[in-house]
Symmetry: C2
Subunit: 155 residues, 2 copies
Amino acid sequence: MTLEDDNTYMSLAMEEARSAMARNEVPIGALLVHKETGQIAAVSGNNTIRNSDPTAHAEINVIREVCRATGSQRIPDYHLYVTLEPCTMCAAAIAFARIPKLVFAGSDEKGGGVLHGAKFFDQPTCHHKIDIQHGIQNQEAAQILKDFFKSKRKT
Amino acid sequence: MTLEDDNTYMSLAMEEARSAMARNEVPIGALLVHKETGQIAAVSGNNTIRNSDPTAHAEINVIREVCRATGSQRIPDYHLYVTLEPCTMCAAAIAFARIPKLVFAGSDEKGGGVLHGAKFFDQPTCHHKIDIQHGIQNQEAAQILKDFFKSKRKT
């Protein structure tokens, strides 16, 4: 993927984040793309409230969708784009799904589990090797979160 | 709950673990029970292969079922029984679901995320307080895993 591709995919994930915010969900968006063809396989925002499902984070939603579509619990041919650093639950799900590359925008000191908290992929018990890139469109990611928490304070 | 209750619930979770093994899934079973009434709300084994879903661990299956049934992503009125130490993904899901008590049988040095690995609940970024008990029926739990890996070596 080129940097232009990365930006295109992340912009689509940002749209999902904004859609999630519009339905009062935590505004995070994710996208899975086939690593060879560049074809987008799934996009989703958080749906924990809509689905009454604490595991329905954007990342897990797209992982479930592509796994179901491919008939496998492992999807090593797909790259994941997320608008915010995944939490520990999602990091572990990414490892179970054998996703080889993760690109995320903003980092998350409080809830993140990749660069922060449990630092899941750095644990000696994690044997999944993953290419991680972050920082792309991080200002846009920060703005979305800022807008979300501002709207929360008003209600 | 009395120790007798704990044993009853764990035995039912063990049955789920054996059922999971019979369909070639990793043999782990889980059960959610209402903390006041003692009524069993959901039981499940691992279904990652059957559902083509890497997140379909026994714990997440019962959490999703009870959340859907109660219409909430938080289920603080339910206690969780699991035959093996939850992995990091499940530990995080337990925290998101606000489950106040976790009872598990065997511990899991390689895949566990509670006593081992990421030690999720011990992270300073985890603000969910949980009562954890373990060791009940741990010999039965160890035997099930032993039987499973023995059957795997034969195939």
